[in-house]
Amino acid sequence: MASPQELSDFLSSVEQRAFKQAVYAVRDDDAALDIVQDAMIKLAEKYGDRPAAELPLVFTRILQNRIHDWFRRQKVRNTWVTLFSNMGKKSDESDDFDPLESLSAPDDSEIHQDGAFKLERSQLLQALESEISKLPARQREAFLMRYWDELSITETALAMSCSEGSVKTHCSRATQALAKALKLKGITL
């Protein structure tokens, strides 16, 4: 049974990774933070009495389910928003909107301070994250669970509710797609 300290340590170790994984999926920082918070609360509330060794797999599964739920809710919401936005739409509303006001310059001061190496790493990371975001959901999940979460094929299959063969296929396709996309950008890992 995981003690409060063990649970705290576990959450501390996975929260940033979970946030990034959620961002890759939903591409929205606020939504990703909400998803991670919900997943943490669900884990503590429902599975807080589980042994510490079981927490990584359970948390991964909860996180993926939360991401799927978010997409379902978005789908329903978008349906209603599209429906109502077509009603009473004013043509002059778009004239007041200036896209430049909503854009913010990337905070790259740190990059300039630390030199070319850090710039290169940052650009490499950005390219990699961008390509990961473009992967199909199942491939992205399999890739991140296998290599980032370091789950075994069996554990990944369990978390994704699919066969081990499917996990291997998803991983392989994700890796090939990422390598190919990065190579087109002149990047080789």
Binding site: R17, L128, L144
Partner: protein
Amino acid sequence: MNRNEDTLSTREADQFGLTAAALLRQGSQSLPAGVKDRLYAARIKALSVKKPEKVRIAQHVLASSSGSWSSGSRSFWDNVGWVAPLVVLVFGLIGIAQWQQDSRINDIAELDVALLTDDVPPDAYADSGFLGFLKNGPLSESDQDSLSSVKTPS
């Protein structure tokens, strides 16, 4: 066999995946302070609703009390609490069985009293003719006449 140059072997794919994961891991360490704060707050909130651990006190109290009634009385009653309904159930069943037996004895006694105090002796009930009489009722006048005419010559 010609292998496409763009296609990675299994070993190369694993190597690529591990390298990419290492890069992603490094990137996740440099999150903005605002995001880190919100993640910290989320963690604290999650810990505040943690499912409580199951506490096993009773056995320790019993072991430490070593038969002392005052210190271990609460745990003693916790342990024997389930026995009380069982005892009540057993005594209840015994009582019901006793009551049924008494009731059966009383019924038999009433029957005996009725038989012994009746005008007809108990042996009559063993006679098939008397049972037929009870079943068919008293004889009609014509039956009595025919019976008397049969009996007269003798």
